[in-house]
Symmetry: C2
């Protein structure tokens, strides 16, 4: 029987972390970038590496029906619900070494430290290496974590991998996994047996770098309300021969709409709301447009994100109203189309507060990108996330996380483990 | 010897006009639209028809080295410089029956009326059917009229027709014309022997229809200053993960620039300047953009047109200054590139004034599109244009000009002929 916790003296196993990051980078790099393809050779190499390290640490190993890897440090009371520390091991094509992997390495370096200090946590702690989070390979959000809770549409088994065209079903079979788990919506973990899900992830934006902070507690994962197929229809005409009052200029009208929505964004920001607004696709029709033609059509995307559903609803309503008003003013027709919506995921208030108290420079921020944590929150598991400062953004070969910042985020996780039950 | 003019009693030969429009439409229609391809079967059919009518009227016929057709009514004094009434007989692919042809038919119906009334004009009047004005076939502006004055770069002989790929040189040879005239920049007409060039053309925009006016005198042909290859470079990033102060959003910056230039346009308009501003091509990069990405690049066109070089220069300067200011504000880089410039062509003040006095509802307006008249003005020939109301724009099968409106425009031309020397 292990002795009671002595948290003040336990610090993350940074030797394990540095060595594991190094080996992950060397074994899954192709050219400049990292390629850990979902259910492919790259992701599998990462799983094999991580599993080997976990075995060395002396963790209990299991793999579920669709390949998620569970590495468990037994707790003082094995009968109570356990704590998960997880993230994914796959990457986008030509990605970086830290997106996803940092969360798994953080879990291992925390439990390795506990093991070495002979400190048993109050309950089982499982480090979870989740499959296939990056939808770049199979176009499904949260494939690995969604399947754990039977949340996936079984039709997704016919989705083909973007690079080699093989279906998810045959890919799972080739790797020795069981597509039946997805087909039958089988639950591979019982949410009531999970006390908390904790995820450390590199920040995918520049906020922490700009503020000079090593880490942050995540308030929530922004939801998204997206007009994916917005369109403005006017009339093509000669750019020289038609004066302003007679134009049906789709570009001018779209510019007016986007400019108005930027002002709405600035207003909401000033009022303290969480919001980002992006039009990342905007184009006239290359088959019809011309340098001396007034444009008769534009197509564009409006992407709204917030931790608040109410904020997204409000701005979407304003977008519709502005499209009607500006459409009339410019004698064009806007059809914004329907929205695709993903709800925000709120992080657990008590876990957030505890993590904040564990940071020397406490700072909270929303996550703009999605994470597996959103799935665990959705099924009702108390969920928390820590962001670690990362230069140059994510999903590219230049991801740069300092081990010192990683240590600060992981130390907070480790301390949180020992505080249970909160 | 003809008797002196009795202008009050002479009116255009509308029978000739109506019959000629009808035959032109029937003989050069393909499906819904008109196809009078430059130096092709369609344009040649129109030339043959027009020439036959001119022969019936009793005009002197000549064809120059590159196929322009001259149909001359002798004047009382054959030794003085002559008056030209011209326009082109080609059309865009699937164009309408009136763009170009109306000017040639107007000339014929005017001189036919003089012939029938046995009224001789003060000098020779030549109706000129000009070749290849529409650059849709050979990508050269003002091919037929430019060649008349040796203005074309001889390299244009290797330009290929857009539909069949045959070079201009071999096309001219096939039709029995002489590419040497272009190669040697031979002048086929002496500007000092032309007293005036007059052109009637359908309006290519909606102004006259909107104002309920049958015809207008053209003040000038708008020049064009065009940033053909403008570009904004920012950084691609995750649309959810990067807040406003950290973005390098090429779409947001381009929207701000275009919105500002619209306000400059409105300001100039209010101050009485002649200006149109168009961005008819605007696009993010389809290989790089995405619905959840901040756009790292846009490409776009800025097209400025005015009868005033000073106005175009002023707005182009404002565009450059705004691009620098907005680029800094949005942390992106604008490269507007160089401009391609075509100067405005000013119509002759005395001819304009005389034409205005001949309209019952006098109205003046600029021409936004280019016309052969610009070439005649450029070589110093006093030049005037009349626009005739036309519904549904030009360069499409729906061009609609009423013969009553055509009669009003042609009557003004006819009266002007008889007023020479002004």
């Amino acid at each position: 029987m292990s002795k009671p916790s002595t948290p003040a003296r336990v610090t993350p196993d940074l030797g394990l972390a540095a060595s594991l990051f190094d080996r992950l980078g060397r074994e899954t790099r192709q050219g400049r970038g990292i390629v850990r393809d979902s259910y492919g050779a790259g992701e599998q190499a990462a799983h094999d590496l991580v599993r080997g390290v976990a075995e060395n640490v002396g963790l209990e190993i299991s793999v579920d029906a669709i390949g998620n890897l569970m590495m468990t440090l037994p707790g003082r009371d094995r009968s109570v619900p356990r704590i998960l520390i997880g993230s994914h091991l796959d990457s986008v094509p030509q990605g970086g070494n830290y997106d996803g992997a940092a969360g798994v390495v953080a879990g291992l370096s925390a439990v390795s430290a506990l093991r070495q200090a002979d400190v048993a946590p109050p309950c089982d702690v499982s480090v979870m290496a989740i499959r296939a989070e990056e939808s770049a390979w199979f176009d499904i959000a949260y494939l690995g974590s969604g399947a754990v809770f039977g949340l996936l549409d079984p039709g997704c088994l016919s989705i083909r991998r973007s690079d080699n065209g093989r279906s998810l079903e045959s890919t799972l079979l080739e790797r020795g996994f069981d597509p039946g788990a997805i087909r039958e919506r089988r639950r591979l973990l019982d949410p009531s047996r999970i006390r908390a899900y904790l995820e450390l992830h590199i920040e995918q934006g520049p906020t922490l770098t700009a503020r000079g902070l090593p880490a942050a507690v995540v308030t929530g994962i922004r939801g998204c309300k997206r007009f994916r197929n917005a369109r403005c229809t006017g009339s093509y005409a000669h750019s020289g021969a038609v004066n302003r009052p007679f134009r049906h200029d789709a570009v001018a009208a779209t510019v007016a709409l986007l400019h108005h929505l930027e002002s709405v964004w600035i207003r909401e920001e000033a009022a303290g709301a969480d919001l980002v607004f992006t039009s990342g696709e905007l184009y006239t029709d290359p088959a019809m447009h011309g340098p001396s033609k007034i444009a008769g059509e534009t197509r564009f995307v409006l992407d709204l994100r917030s931790v608040s559903d109410a904020t997204m609803d409000l701005v979407a309503d304003e977008a519709r109203a502005a499209a009607a008003r500006i459409g009339a003013e410019y004698r064009v027709n806007f059809d914004l189309g329907s929205t695709s919506d993903s709800p925000p995921a709120v992080m657990d208030a008590r876990l957030r507060a505890r993590l904040m108290s564990l940071l020397e420079q406490p700072f909270e921020m929303p996550s703009g990108a999605g994470h597996d944590a959103a799935v665990f929150a959705k099924v009702g598991i108390p969920t928390a996330m820590i962001f670690v400062r990362n230069d140059f953004g994510s999903h590219n070969p230049d991801e740069a996380m300092a081990i010192e910042d990683f240590a600060i985020g992981t130390q907070a996780l480790l301390r949180l483990l020992l505080d249970f039950p909160l």
